[in-house]
Amino acid sequence: MPKEIAMPKLGESVVEGVIGRWLKAEGDRIEEDEPLVEIDTDKVNAEVPSPYSGVVYKLVASEGETVPVGGIIAMIQVDGEEETAPAADEAGKGDEPNAAPEVASPFGVGISAEVERPYSAREPHLYSPAVRRLAQESGIDPSDVQGTGAGGRVTKKDMERAIEARRTRQAPAEDFLGSAPFRGRPESIGRTAEGDEVIPITRMRRTIAERLLHSTRTVPHAWTTVEVDVTSLVKFRESIKEEFRRREGINLTYLPFVVKAAVEALREYPILNSTWEEDRIVIKKHIHIGIAVDLDDGLIVPVIRDADQRSIVGLARSISDLATRARSGALTPDDVSGGTFTINNTGAFGSVLSAPIINYPQAAILSMETITRRPVVVGDAIGIRSMMNLCMSLDHRVLDGAVCGRFLKSVKTRLEAYDSNTPLY
């Protein structure tokens, strides 16, 4: 009897995966722990190893297919077990008591010896008559709409907001073109002219789009910025960066200093390390800092766990490790989940001011901008100082300007105090 291979659960919140590429064909020999398939989820891509040695009996799911967690993707004829001819199954001879196939998880013990039944993503949605009527009238699929009702139900108001959001997004262009009243997508969408390049939307691009759209739609963003005089930090870093590189094998950037200053300020103002959960605000005990890493085809935000427990060197190592693995596609689901606050190094590409989008459901995001040497009033004189802007976006449902101002002042004070006396370890 061939063993069935189920779609593994590649992270706590992951409910489905896409078959990226089969690494074996039907009939191929496979050893235990040898990679069988590449699975893409909205968080990571992962190679899934075979839990058995044997022969690939059947590839149930095809490449590109989305399969819920627990869904059967393949069958393996395990060595030493009786072979079953496919014809026997088709002839309906499987009526012996043990006919039900055993299902194994490629992750073996601990994850799921028993099949985890797919849920939520495949559950039928129940919509009120009002929601269904609005869906029909507008052409908006309620399953694309974020529900704010009881138990996440999509309400009439949610639909009305979605319709309004679409109208305000698209109406101005229509007005400008002076065309007929808006009835769905602008006519120009869906047509290409000669020479236009069409780029298919990758799963990562889609995920980025959905996450950011959700955040901008649901989170009332407010922005604030402070200027930080990092002259002494710059001098300090310049003086030790060569030695640091020799000793530690990695570059010492400004990012770990900013992370250090930010986590200390977060401990001082824990409300910034929180999430809005509709009927309550949850202040997170752990400080897990997300770091935005740009990739060739997108962006990913791996997480430094318990960042407040680490020294500057420890932070530098974590950042270097996460960035390296992000760029080689070797992050695990746990590396990209559980962040409580995000820091974005927009200065890395020369930006001096930005309005970052909050990494929902976190309450705030901080951008460190590029350091520029500028004439600055110092006392009663003008001096040339190394200046850096810190820009923050905040969820105004959770946070108000005053506490964010105090938080930023705390980060600023800490950064301005970094100098040759600052312990790295």
Partner: protein, 337 residues
């Protein structure tokens, strides 16, 4: 304090003053208007609703009757057939049951059974409702008894402007009108009293508060609770409730109800009368039939429990009757659905 719509000259009065002054004005203008009931004459009524009327209009027009409700209504029907415009006061709505046969089998059917030859322009004033520690015999809501009787009109206004406008409309209506007066509202509710010829149409509901998030349909004291709750919810939760005061129960203003629910998608019906067989059921059924595709939540009803009577113990009465807190909690739950 309730404001009067579309009226310029106003004074502030409570409900009992409004009823008395409206009856006075109508009796002064039209000598066909008479008042009859227990202790309405020399004594001026147990709630002072007819204070001064006997002195002004005399024993022939302000008639003290025996303690016999069937007789009060029967005399009123006879007087109406004879060309008068009688107002029959039943001292407490709880006592109207003795007059049920006169009201349902005679007054309500007069026009129909005489093939339009006769009609019966009487007003039956019924002080009803609990909250005054009146116990079993002085607290009942009786509207459901008459609600299924075509041929009757039922009004239940609870602001001075609505009371005056509908009492005048009831007096001049050519058919029998049950005029429900909530006893708790008598001195509790104050508002602008429109001078002069202010008249409202029977069968029209009044949107007392416009809102977008849910519709509360009510009448009587619970309508006031809904209005207070709506203001609290708006201030504290940002929930914007629409409050529809039925004012008239029969005919029921289905159009206004349906229009409101089509806008908000959610309906809560609240009344002090008990749940089963109450006016709320008819409101709910109307919305289910005529606004189904606009509903975003199950229709909710909030009413007194189905128990035989209002208890006499103040604590038990308080526990049984709806409060503003109860109404607000139901509104909040529905808004969050």
């Amino acid at each position: 304090m309730y404001t009067a719509k579309g009226v310029s000259r106003v004074a502030v009065k409570n409900i009992i003053e409004t009823i008395r002054d409206t009856m006075y004005e109508e009796m002064a203008k039209d000598e066909r208007v008479i008042l009859l009931g227990e202790d309405v004459g020399v004594h001026g009524g147990v709630y002072n609703a007819s204070q001064g009327l006997h002195a002004a209009f005399g024993s022939e027009r302000v008639v003290d009757t025996p303690i016999a409700e069937s007789s009060i209504v029967g005399i009123a029907i006879g007087a109406a057939l004879g060309g008068l415009l009688p107002i029959a006061e039943i001292q407490f709505a709880d006592f109207v049951h003795s007059a049920i046969d006169q009201i349902i089998s005679e007054a309500a059917k007069m026009r129909y059974r005489s093939n339009n030859d006769f009609h019966c322009p009487i007003v039956i004033r019924l002080p009803y409702g609990g909250g005054i520690t009146g116990g079993l015999y002085h607290s009942q809501c009786v509207e459901a008894l008459f609600f299924s009787t075509p041929g009757l009109k039922i009004v239940a206004p609870t602001t001075p402007s609505d009371v005056k406008g509908l009492l005048r409309a009831a007096i001049h209506d050519p058919d029998p009108v049950i005029f429900l007066e909530h006893k708790l509202s008598y001195r509790k509710i104050k508002g602008e009293y429109p001078e002069g010829e202010h008249m409202l149409e029977i069968g029209k509901a009044d949107v007392k508060r416009e809102g977008t998030d849910l519709t509360v349909v009510s009448y009587g004291m619970t309508m006031h609770y809904a209005l207070e709750a709506a203001e609290t919810l708006f201030a504290e939760e940002g929930i914007d409730a629409e409050v529809v005061d039925l004012c008239s129960l029969l005919p029921l203003d289905r159009e206004t109800i349906v229009e409101s629910v089509k806008k908000t998608g959610k309906l809560l019906v609240v009344h002090e009368d008990n749940l089963t067989g109450g006016v709320g059921g008819e409101v709910a059924a109307t919305v289910a039939s005529e606004a189904f595709m606009y509903l975003d939540a199950p229709i909710q009803r909030l009413a007194s429990p189905d128990i035989p009577a209002t208890p006499y113990s103040p604590k038990l009465e308080h526990a049984m009757l709806l409060s503003e807190d109860d109404v607000r909690a139901a509104m909040l739950e529905l808004a969050r659905y």
